[in-house]
């Protein structure tokens, strides 16, 4: 497998499609891995389950994480990612429709790098995702 740039953890197919569309538009969709639940996300990151054999060193440059996920919830995924030395250094952007203060607080408490609320308005949505892609993939510096 090639290097992964974005791990998109999103259970809604429509949201996923819209997000990918935008990324594609911006030529950022080349190396996007899309998983549909928290378990799969962790399997991928820790190269287990369906992803056994993956090169674990090939970490994504950013994880876009939805909170409302079946099986393992987004906050638990976040917790796991930030708890493990292997995955801690990967920037996590929570991309969720929840504006709830409690979710924001919880996320930052777990060490989230950014918290973005998905606008309903597509134009804004497009804008947000573009910015995210630009920022985290092109602007943000990661350790080699």
């Amino acid at each position: 497998m090639d290097a992964v740039e974005i791990l998109l953890v999103e259970d809604s197919p429509t949201d996923a499609e819209l997000t990918l569309r935008v990324l594609r538009k911006n030529h950022l969709a080349n190396r996007v891995v899309h998983v549909e639940d928290g378990e799969e996300a962790l399997d991928f990151l820790f190269a287990r389950g369906a992803y056994t054999g993956r090169n674990i060193e090939l970490r994504p440059r950013v994880i876009f994480l939805d909170l409302k996920l079946p099986k393992i919830g987004g906050l638990d995924v976040l917790k796991t990612i930030k708890a493990d030395a292997l995955t801690r250094t990967i920037p996590v952007v929570v991309l969720t429709s929840s504006k709830e203060e409690s979710d924001v607080i919880a996320s930052y408490a777990l060490g989230v790098n950014s918290y973005i609320v998905k606008p309903v308005n597509f134009d804004r949505f497009e804008e947000a995702v573009t910015h995210l892609g630009m920022y985290w993939l092109l602007l943000n510096q990661l350790p080699s």
Binding site: S12, T14, L18, K68, S97, S98, V120
Partner: protein, 756 residues
């Protein structure tokens, strides 16, 4: 010189006349032989002694007065004097007194010898006359008699004896001889004396004895007793009288009479009855007595009159049977002479008597008694009244005791150490103890939980000092171990110095309250749980509603973006409509979420600087362009005490409305102000915007109500509903004024004092 003195002395000693010098202090300084002879004393007995020493009583004699006259006035005096010696002899002298430098010089010439000589001459003339001898003897008797004797003829003094002279203050016979006898009688006795004299003269009487008032030469009067009789003297009839000064006697008699009168007065007027009685014996036993003498009170107290001289058995029949003790006691007293006192009831007279009895002489006794019937009755009445009173007190105490003991709450009293000194039945029942187990044995703190012990220790000292405590919550442990929640209130009883004595405490069963509290707490918890649930529900609803909305909007946008070329204008318009509506729905969801959150949010009150709040909110919701376009005036607003976040929302909604509805106008004015009116703080946002039809004012604050078309003004119609709901929760009111196209003013009020 000594020779000359001796020579003079010799001459003086040979003189017939007595010569004596008496000092100013009446000491005999010198006497010649004749003076000693006249004095019937030796020189040693006289020289150096005072005259009053030698002749006691001499100061009262006339002779002394004469000597004193010379001694004091320093004038020569000459007089005759009949002198009676202590040895009962007498002498008659002619006395001259002259003042000398040592005192007085007295010369005495003995005239008795003269008199004796003349008498002897007379006697020698009638020598051998036995009658004359007899008369002489009588004369001597009379002269020496201790009683005053006067002889008179035709009411004139013929002769008086020295005793008579002395009684009347006369010095010698010459002063009275031949004088009328009435001169020696006082004015008040004069008339009577004259009558007697007349009777004596013309009547046939031999002697009489009578009292009269005598008159001394110095004018003083005295009571006298006269015994007078006619006598046949040698030379004719005369009256001889024997007189006695009975002043003292009369005085004594008066005293006795006065004393008797006093006792009589007492006897007659005293309130107690007195009876002097004679005991009557039969076979040596006292069986009766005779009333000898009774006083007025006796009759008044007993109702018996005319009892003197009568036997009691006659006056009070049957008294022997009804009151045998009387005879017993009187008999004993009469016999022993001891005093006794007793109380008895006489059925015959229906009276109670308190009697004191003593015996003044053998066989007699005196009773002094008072009628104690009235007193006994009064005593009985008092006793009865006391009993009634005590009965009432008992009843009242029982009443109060009942009220205390059976009150619907617990009463108890604690001393300064917190020990029970008193407790009512109700409290005992609640606690399940007996009174013996509690009073004086247990402290209040022995019966409470550990937690309540702290409450007690914290509050008791303050209670003692302050004197009261109200509604303290305690949890009391009953005898069976169950816990009773109670409310305790109390006041402190203190002594006059302010020292704590004991408490008056009420204990109220707080079980219901506590249960209610628990119920309320549970209800509260349930409400909170429900709220949390609702919150979660709302959250999930909004999230779930939003996701599809996002898809609708997204995909239609993609469609219009990427397939615009393939679509005609109508198709594009349709897509626009779809997009617009999804956005609207999103807004609706947001607004609904807000609205529901308003109702559920907890309120946190704090002081709010409304002026700076309104200003900062305006800055937040507006852009620099808007701020340029608008003329905004925010007046100094009164501070409020309310929930900061909710008020912020209110300002946000009102101000954004103002901006929104004024933007289309040429004149863009927004005015924000506030003032205090009675108990409310009124705030307003006034704009120069499009206003509204006042006919629809009541719809303004309704949910989703709009008075303008959606295409004119965006908005879901929830903004004002939110404002109203917030303000209502905070205890205020909302209202608005406006005219079409002439702007609108939106008001909200807040209470000055926040009350939840």
């Amino acid at each position: 010189m000594a020779d000359q003195e001796n020579h003079i002395s010799e001459i003086l000693d040979h003189l017939l006349e007595g010569c004596q010098i008496i000092g100013y202090d009446w000491q005999y300084l010198y006497l010649n032989d004749a003076a000693c002879a006249h004095a019937h004393l030796s020189r040693e007995e006289l020289i150096g002694h005072k005259m009053m020493e030698v002749y006691p009583g001499i100061e009262i004699t006339d002779m002394f007065q004469q000597l004193n006259k010379c001694m004091e006035q320093r004038q020569p005096v000459r007089f005759s004097n009949d002198f009676s010696y202590p040895d009962l002899t007498s002498g008659s002298f002619e006395i001259s007194v002259i003042p000398v430098k040592e005192g007085i010089l007295v010369t005495t010439l003995d005239q008795s010898m003269e008199r004796e000589r003349s008498i002897a001459e007379n006697e020698s003339g009638m020598a051998g006359n036995p009658l004359a001898e007899s008369e002489n003897r009588f004369r001597t008797l009379i002269d020496q008699a201790p009683i005053a004797i006067a002889v008179s003829r035709e009411s004139k003094f013929m002769y008086v004896n020295p005793a008579y002279l002395a009684m009347h203050g006369l010095s010698n016979l010459a002063e009275i001889m031949g004088r009328p006898i009435y001169e020696r009688v006082s004015a008040q006795s004069l008339e009577e004396s004259k009558e007697r004299a007349y009777r004596r003269l013309h009547g046939q009487f031999v002697k009489e004895t009578y009292e009269y008032t005598g008159l001394r030469v110095n004018g003083s009067e005295f009571d006298a007793l006269a015994s007078v009789t006619r006598v046949n003297l040698v030379d004719g009839l005369a009256t001889i009288g024997f007189f006695q000064d009975i002043s003292e006697l009369k005085h004594a008699q008066q005293e006795i009479r006065a004393s008797e009168a006093r006792y009589r007065n007492l006897f007659d007027n005293m309130l107690e009855g007195v009876a002097l009685c004679q005991m009557v014996y039969e076979d040596g036993r006292p069986v009766d007595f005779i009333y000898l003498h009774i006083n007025e009170a006796f009759s008044r107290l007993t109702g018996l009159r005319n009892v003197e001289g009568k036997k009691v058995s006659d006056i009070i029949p049957g008294v022997n049977e009804t009151n045998p003790e009387l005879f017993e006691i009187y008999g004993r007293v009469t016999l022993t002479g001891n005093r006794e006192k007793f109380e008895t009831y006489l059925p015959a007279l229906k009276i109670w008597l308190i009697v004191s009895v003593y015996s003044p002489e053998t066989g007699k006794f005196v009773t002094v008694f008072e009628n104690s019937t009235a007193r006994r009755q009064a005593e009985n009445a008092l006793k009865q009244s006391n009993e009634e009173l005590e009965q009432r007190v008992r009843e009242r105490t029982a009443e109060l005791s009942d009220l205390y003991n059976n009150a619907p709450c617990g009463y108890h009293s604690l001393d300064a150490k917190g020990v029970f000194v008193r407790i009512n039945d109700t409290e005992l029942n609640w606690l399940g103890y007996t009174r013996d187990e509690i009073v004086g044995k247990k402290k209040f703190t022995d019966l409470v939980t550990a937690e309540s012990l702290l409450t007690f220790e914290e509050n008791f000292p303050g209670f003692i000092k302050r004197g009261w405590v109200n509604n303290l919550e305690f949890r009391v442990v009953c005898k069976d171990g169950s816990i009773l929640p109670v409310l305790l209130s109390g006041t402190a009883v203190k002594d006059s110095e302010g020292n704590y004595l004991y408490s008056r405490s009420t204990m109220i069963d707080n079980t219901e309250q506590k249960r209610g509290e628990t119920a309320r707490q549970e209800t509260q918890k349930r409400l909170e749980a429900a709220n949390v649930e609702l919150e979660a529900f709302t959250y999930s609803v909004s999230h779930n509603l939003r996701a599809p909305l996002r898809a609708i909007d997204g995909f239609s946008r993609i469609l219009s973006q990427e397939y615009a070329g393939d679509l005609d204008s109508e198709a594009n318009r349709l897509l626009t409509v779809i997009e617009a509506n999804t956005r609207r729905m999103d807004q609706l969801i947001t607004d609904l979420l807000n609205l529901s959150r308003i109702s559920r949010a907890g309120l946190h009150f704090s002081d709010i600087d409304m002026t700076s709040l309104a200003t900062s909110v305006f800055t937040e919701i507006s852009t620099p362009e808007i701020r340029q376009e608008f003329s905004v005036q925010i007046d100094p607003l009164p501070a409020a005490n309310s929930d900061l976040n909710l008020i912020r929302q209110v300002w946000s909604n009102l101000l954004s409305n103002a901006i929104k509805y004024t933007r289309p106008k040429a004149e863009r004015l927004i005015e924000v102000g506030g003032y205090l009116e009675k108990d409310s703080l009124i705030y307003y946002v006034k704009d120069s915007g499009v206003g509204f039809n006042p006919a629809y004012t009541n719809k303004l604050f309704g949910v989703f109500e709009r008075l303008h078309k959606a295409e004119e003004f965006e908005g879901t119609g929830v903004g004002l509903a939110i404002v109203r709901r917030i303000i209502n929760r905070l205890g205020g009111l909302t209202w608005a004024e406006g005219k079409l196209d002439q702007g609108a003013t939106f008001y909200f009020s807040l209470p000055v004092k926040n009350n939840k």
